[in-house]
Point group: C2
Chain length 201, copies 2
């Protein structure tokens, strides 16, 4: 059985939980509390030297780290992976966009606001990070103004990757009101069969 090393408040972990549920794949979930340093123990660093969750452990003890690599692995040979060479590349384009241009500016402000004390010096990072988060949302808005999903007109792992933190952008102090196409897309993703909320294991 697959084992997912996870942290329930992580949108990156949620990507894997959501796809595992939509694929009806049973798995064992091991919660590691980031705030308590449980992803930096020697035992976990032996599994993922980068010390991050999520990480997926296969039956043969192989480990796949990085949320978007995990959902790519799970999606192969399923309708969740876009078809065709161009479709696969476009899915990866949006997933790399998510990790480079979106996650640090939506997930990280959300983490600062939810997990760090109000007087933590990292609060000073918020305005610039949120501005960049809004820039990422504007790129998504442009794309979604003429497309129902990110790749090929169908729900795919590119949508899962971008949904994970976008749908909780308010928890990062980012208001989604100026992005109507993004909000409509969030509704379409949430209406997909076997959708689960970020709070569900």
């Amino acid at each position: 059985m697959l084992t997912l090393y996870d942290y329930m408040d992580s949108g990156n972990g949620y990507k894997a939980r959501l796809l595992l549920h939509q694929l009806a794949i049973p798995y064992r979930r091991i919660e590691l509390d980031i705030d308590k340093g449980e992803t930096r123990t020697a035992a976990f660093l032996a599994k993922n030297p980068n010390g991050r969750v999520p990480a997926l452990e296969l039956d043969d003890s192989s480990i796949i780290a990085e949320s978007d690599a995990i959902i790519w692995y799970l999606a192969e040979d399923t309708p969740f992976l876009p078809e065709g060479r161009l479709g696969r590349a476009q899915a990866l384009q949006w997933m790399f966009f998510e990790q480079y241009s979106h996650e640090p500016y939506v997930a990280t402000p959300r983490y600062i606001l939810r997990h760090l004390a109000p007087d933590n010096p990292r609060r000073s990072e918020l305005p610039e990070r949120q501005a960049r988060g809004r820039a990422a949302l504007a790129v998504m808005e442009t794309h979604l103004a003429t497309a129902p999903f990110f790749v090929g007109g169908h729900y795919s792992i590119a949508d899962i990757a971008l949904y994970a933190y976008t749908h909780v952008a308010d928890q990062a102090g980012i208001d989604l009101t100026p992005y109507p196409a993004v909000r409509a897309w969030l509704g379409r993703v949430a209406a997909e069969p076997r959708h689960i909320p970020i709070t569900q294991g």
Copy 2:
């Protein structure tokens, strides 16, 4: 013929140039000077709304953005893409590691040092970014202590992704002396057939 929108000093662009050369694929290269705002013009934003190079334009005018999505596209059905479902996921794991945990902390300090004035306030970012860059190199060192390349014992796009900025880490103010396995791997990558330097178009 493929068109690569590129910037010669970009390691992200170099990933595409290197693989195109190793695959002996002819292409047209269009240089866009980041420092002059040439990636933020209306004409280029119509091609890539995220306003970044590299971007690859196909014969049918489709665009693939994000360096690691471009090299994945080029590598499909070639020996540069690792074999097997686990191999592909491991390649993506290292490519997402590169974009999330390495590039902002090696490429960005290099950019600050090479392209911004000595009194630019962004110089204050250097110590923390370089420290995180060294943390990424330590993760690579752990892996390469027991493996000749990142995935499956063979040179692949995972190596190309991580080589691009690692081999110029000195230009980011990061000394590679403490990472002997990384330095030996850099030598193996540079010895691959049809290798070209970052300065070659």
